[in-house]
């Protein structure tokens, strides 16, 4: 399958995507409550950015909610420290931002029916060798999807360092706005995440199906670069 990479706005892109789900509901802006699982550098940065973008945000880590109450209050004021279960019960969309060697500790049916944004990267240096993640031709998110078969998985927000998520948000139309790609097989989920990306201050780029996720990983071509939407879309379709 070739990637239908496009830098189009979320509300214009449907006709450019060959495998868009024609019968799916189309209100991609309905998601109001964002959950973040993982209260580390990335999770906290995303929580802060999402609060600023107007989402109701709940953050959870592996422990009880009280354990992250203070960091959430100081680092992401306005977000609510929660348990994983509370996040799953309340959120319309959930970002998974735990270390890649730990996602298998979460139950397989936990995110059934939920839009799940896989923002993790597999770093052998810190995660240790993981044969399954290393061997996946379609990238780590294919393995994550297999672990959470009922989740509507989208790989995104893994491309930038957490401090770039702090430093680079720009208003829609700004000339120096940078792009963030999303890939996934559930097209409505992808479009919903693209709407999130836009509200966070980045130009969303549809990178095609989940198996294209390899292109968004360390050592992949666009990985970790700050690119315009046009350039990112070209890089993704050139591969």
């Amino acid at each position: 399958m070739t990637p239908a990479s496009t830098a189009a706005r979320t509300d214009q892109d449907e006709h450019r995507i060959g495998w868009a789900a024609a019968d799916a509901p189309t209100d991609v802006s309905a998601a109001k409550r964002l959950g973040v699982v993982g209260a580390g550098k990335l999770g906290m940065t995303l929580a802060r950015a999402a609060v600023a973008a107007g989402y109701e945000v709940a953050v959870a880590s592996s422990g009880p909610a009280e354990r992250i109450a203070l960091p959430v209050e100081v680092l992401a004021p306005g977000a609510v420290a929660s348990t994983v279960k509370e996040v799953v019960d309340s959120a319309d969309m959930i970002v998974l931002a735990v270390p890649a060697h730990r996602f298998r500790e979460l139950p397989s049916d936990l995110f059934d029916g939920k839009i799940l944004v896989d923002a993790m990267n597999y770093w052998p240096d810190t995660d240790g060798e993981d044969r399954e993640l290393a061997a996946s031709d379609g990238g780590s998110s294919v393995v994550v999807q297999a672990h959470f078969p009922g989740a509507r998985l989208v790989k995104s927000l893994n491309q930038l360092g957490y401090h770039e998520l702090d430093d680079y948000p720009r208003a829609d139309g700004a000339t120096d706005r940078i792009a963030v790609a999303a890939v996934g097989d559930d097209r409505l989920a992808v479009r919903t995440v693209m709407h999130l990306i836009d509200r966070l201050g980045f130009d969303p780029v549809d990178g095609g199906p989940l198996a294209n996720g390899k292109l968004l990983e360390p050592d992949g071509s666009p990985y970790a670069e700050t690119l315009s939407a046009d350039t990112l879309a070209k890089r993704l379709s050139a591969v």
Binding site: A39, P71, V74, L75, P99, D127, G161, Y162, H163, A224
Partner: protein, 377 residues
């Protein structure tokens, strides 16, 4: 008002440096050069000299305490420490033995920064499993904090044999061996430092250092929550290089910065570094490179913005030759740090103007995060 006490230190990873003929010089020579650099730092008024911990072909800092002991024997004043000690793969008892001995040799000048380390080559080398990364550090920090309290110790855990009413030697006088906890910016590690009531050292090696301010606030709030005094010191580790002029400093550091980050990019999957990224880091990121006046005017507002008591500058990045490293040390000790002290004493308004220019430009840092390479950690 009581004058605030600052510590202006230097960090070295004992990089294998370039010789005058362009070839790298021998590792044994790097070790001897580092001892001389520590002695020089003392002569020019630097407050502390701190050595890292790596086990790789281009860095010779695998036995910091031995190098520090050699410096201790030839100096009277400078504090001698680590930046950082990878506590996870050391035995806390052995670490105590080494540094209590250094403290005795130096007349009470030993100090430590303990961290999990972003370089993880010590895990396979010493037979540890990377999957225990979190648990090992937690357990060993807990034990080391107890050892610092002195007296007979009874302890048991998972990662070393139990201690039954053991008295460690040599004894440490009360308050000696000040021990900091290093953090690359993860909220967990900031909270952990606060839980043990130990001073916090923040490492920033890319992007705007000012963005770490919320972590300083988190640390102080957490200290209060854990019932510790809230005025424990906070420090900042960052990168720098000083020469007579801005141009000389920038052009001397640039090729070695490029070499260092090209290697890191290959090893860790970061984006390949560019000159534009280097320039952005120098202009308002974590590279304090330039003439003494330029670097002093970068450091002072950052220290003020972060409300820190200590700054450790990695005084030349990569294989910068020994002669240039020595020049950087001299200028830092004789000109930069005294000037920063003056700026910090002066009217804050003077510094506000400089801090206002600190927004990051269009070009991103090549550094994925601070000391931990994974953005999700």
């Amino acid at each position: 008002m009581e004058e605030r006490e600052y510590e202006f230190g230097l960090d070295s990873f004992m990089a294998v440096t370039a010789g005058s003929d362009g070839e790298t010089i021998g590792g044994d020579q790097v070790v001897r050069d580092t001892v001389e650099e520590g002695v020089l730092a003392d002569e020019v008024g630097i407050d502390s000299f701190n050595i890292g911990e790596h086990y790789r072909h281009d860095m010779m800092d695998s036995a910091a305490h031995v190098v520090l002991a050699a410096i201790a024997a030839r100096t009277e004043r400078i504090r001698l420490g680590t930046a950082v000690t990878v506590l996870s793969t050391q035995d806390p008892v052995r670490l105590y033995n080494n540094f209590a001995t250094l403290d005795a040799i130096s007349g009470g000048r030993a100090q430590l920064i303990l961290g999990r380390g972003s370089a993880i080559e010590s895990f396979p080398l010493f037979g540890y499993d990377l999957r225990d990364y979190e648990d090992i550090f937690e357990e060993k920090l807990g034990l080391f904090a107890e050892l610092l309290r002195g007296g007979p110790i009874t302890w048991s855990g998972k990662y070393r044999p139990p201690l039954d009413n053991v008295v460690l030697t040599p004894p440490l006088p009360a308050g000696h061996l000040r021990t900091w906890v290093g953090s690359g910016g993860s909220p967990d590690s900031v909270i952990r430092a606060a839980r043990y009531g130990l001073p916090l050292m923040l490492a920033v090696i890319g992007g705007r250092p000012e963005r770490f301010r919320p972590l300083v606030d988190l640390y102080r709030r957490a200290l209060a929550q854990f019932g510790h005094r809230t005025d424990l010191p906070v420090g900042l580790h960052t990168l720098g290089y000083v020469a007579a002029s801005d141009e000389e400093a920038v052009e001397t550091q640039w090729p070695y910065w490029l070499e260092t980050f090209e290697r890191a990019s290959r090893e860790r999957g970061w984006r390949p570094p560019t000159r534009a990224q280097f320039d952005a880091e120098v202009a308002h990121g974590a590279m304090f490179v330039g003439s003494p006046e330029t670097v002093a005017r970068r450091i002072a507002p950052v220290m003020r913005a972060l409300d820190v008591d200590r700054i450790d500058l990695h005084y030349a990045l990569g294989a910068v030759p020994a002669a240039q490293r020595r020049e950087s040390i001299e200028l830092l000790g004789r000109e930069v740090f005294p000037r920063v002290r003056d700026l910090l004493k002066a009217d804050p308004a003077e510094n506000e103007v400089i801090a206002g220019s600190a927004a990051l430009g269009d070009v991103a840092s090549p550094v994925r995060s601070t000391h931990a390479p994974a953005p999700t950690r």
